[in-house]
Symmetry: C2
Subunit: 384 residues, 2 copies
């Protein structure tokens, strides 16, 4: 409820907890159709037994539901290789505010019969309709996996290493993640994890997946040798063993968990052109001075998406008002997006005007008015 | 004009011929921004000089414009590897019917700030607005290319070969095309082209692209040896030389050109589940009997997309009425789409009800009414 106002409409509360059935899987085509309440990890485990992989992977995979993933256009860890949900969702079913069910459950890679309206429901955060079923183009599960963990001197070196990785092994590059020293320090000191390579100003986690173990290993090793020779990287380790690879991934995936040990943390999820990707972290450190405990930067370089976190002693509205206008102003200055994958929700809705032109916001309002004239779907979110 | 009715509105005629400028290219990120009138082949040649590749490739690349490609959600030859335009168009600019310009020209892989309205303009065939600028995620130009041309005994063998190709070389598979004997016979007899492997009931063209010449060659050769051993294929040739590869591609790309030598040809562009992909061609041969000259099937197996053509002595409305209800009925029976990549346009608009539920058509009409209340944008198309 905003400002104590009493809404004149009823709010719709929908639980998808029991909507957790897989409807069908075309194993040869890799097309999975399921109800919206299926948990992402369960889907991926089901697919793994059938030699397939879900194109989406998130730290929250153990609890997030596919309907929510689609409604928020979740990004995560495999966008670099498999692209986003607008490309991978073949079809969906959604219920409109008036109760009418929309059946977009086609399963074709190519289908140009009429407007592509399913996209209205991907990323609109449940404000235009409730996604109830999803059909997703899954991929063949790769036969080979390698994870490298590297130590680097500077963010410039991180970028050089990224461009080199694309040159040398573009088609097997699944993830290219960066972790800065404060983030690494936090996750290792608070969660009993250990850096396998010692301490460096920056760390990079690279995952490759492919169809030929020997070829992939050769590509990764040649790439690492070349990076060492060119002084892009200072140190590194690489593994093709699943258990060791999982251990390395923990260092990246558990960072959000470690934040609960560092006071109150303001969390931002920003897209930036790579030339300004880490500049924003430096800007925030300078701006915060001794007002913050630490400023952390980590995220998906391969997608231009950084998670920037600022820890302070405790939450205060004044601190929020001090941080937010500046971080979003700088983001806009660098042609970034103030929400890469987390959406606008309730907290960022008031900043929508920074990202969209008045004409676009006007069209958004017209679409919302057409689809949900009484504003009963996920009220107070996205558009305010 | 339909049925001689006089429209009460003015039609908007827009020429994009002079809108052919490239606005910017971020070479490292691979993001190309350009005006809508740029010709696809010119864009790809511009990118080639900078070690990049456009994610879209079509037979019509020498004349089609990128604004039209986006408006029709063009598919073409590289969807198997790079996915469709909903995944690759990062941003666009469109002009609404009321003259208002919508600026969705962001260039982020991840941007969840508000509704993803750019998708309304991808594939709606210019009926909701005119696309004037486009920002596209381009890819690194592969260093290695191989093209194989295979002869096979049956369509079952074609499918077995496709599944084997995915297993053995998923990440480098760029195109998997099928040509049936009548199509091959036409293109070789009418256009002075020659099959490099003799005559077979079916032909498959496979293209792979990757970052490592040696690895790709080994993958392709191992795959072909295995296919020969398993009797999936009867014969085959493979080349890593660009000029020879182009020669092989001519056999596939010039098929549409050869149809002008076979009377009047009814052309269909269908998506089908692979188990029924060629069944529809057999159905049509049986249904047509001696009413047709020949029934041809060729297309993009990798995308479930077949081009089915029926040649007759000359056009007659009776023949059209004889063919169309049946071919679309069979397509629907097999859970296919009556328009994979060519759109509904003027000719197929009346069949929209076969593909979309009344609820979806109703929402399409509401969207059209909201975006273009006077129906001045590309009238008589898609919705009638």
């Amino acid at each position: 409820m905003v400002g104590g106002a009493t809404p004149v409409f009823d709010e719709v509360i929908i639980s998808t907890e029991l909507m957790n059935e897989i409807i069908s899987l075309d194993e040869k085509a890799g097309i999975l159709t399921c109800l919206a309440g299926c948990v992402l990890q369960n889907l991926d485990e089901y697919l793994a037994e059938r030699n397939l992989i879900f194109p989406l992977d998130l730290g929250a995979k153990g609890s997030c539901q596919i309907g929510g993933n689609v409604s928020t256009n979740a990004g995560g860890l495999r966008v670099l290789k498999y692209g986003n949900l607008h490309g991978n969702v073949l079809g969906l079913e959604a219920v409109q505010a008036n109760g009418v069910v929309l059946d977009f459950l086609t399963c074709h890679k190519k289908d140009n019969t009429g407007y592509h309206l399913k996209h209205l429901f991907i990323g609109s955060e449940g404000t235009l309709g409730v996604v109830t079923k999803v059909a997703v183009q899954c991929k063949l599960r790769p036969k080979s996996l390698h994870v490298a963990f590297l130590g680097l001197q500077s963010f410039d070196k991180v970028l050089q290493t990224f461009y080199k990785a694309k040159q040398d092994m573009d088609e097997i590059l699944t993830a290219f993640e960066v972790i800065d020293a404060p983030s690494m320090d936090l996750v290792t000191s608070k969660l009993e994890l250990e850096s396998p390579i010692g301490d460096y100003p920056f760390y990079v986690l690279i995952e490759t997946t492919g169809s030929n173990e020997e070829h992939d290993e050769e590509k990764v090793n040649q790439f690492l040798e070349s990076c060492l020779k060119k002084h892009h990287i200072l140190n590194g380790t690489v593994t093709g063993e699943i258990s060791k690879a999982r251990g390395i991934w923990q260092l990246r995936e558990k960072i959000p968990e470690a934040f609960k040990y560092d006071g109150y943390v303001f969390m931002y999820d920003i897209s930036l052109p790579l030339d300004h990707y880490y500049k924003l972290v430096d800007d925030m450190r300078e701006y915060m001075g001794d007002k913050s405990h630490r400023v952390y930067g980590f995220g998906h370089i391969g997608d231009g998406n950084i998670h920037l976190q600022i820890s302070v002693k405790e939450f205060s509205p004044e601190m929020k008002s001090f941080i937010e206008p500046y971080i979003f102003h700088q983001t806009k200055k660098y042609n970034g997006s103030i929400s890469a994958e987390h959406g606008m929700g309730f907290l960022k809705a008031k900043y929508l005007h920074m990202m969209k032109t008045p004409e676009t916001i006007n069209l958004m309002k017209n679409v919302k008015q057409m689809m949900d004239p009484n504003g009963i779907l996920n009220p107070y979110k996205v558009l305010v």
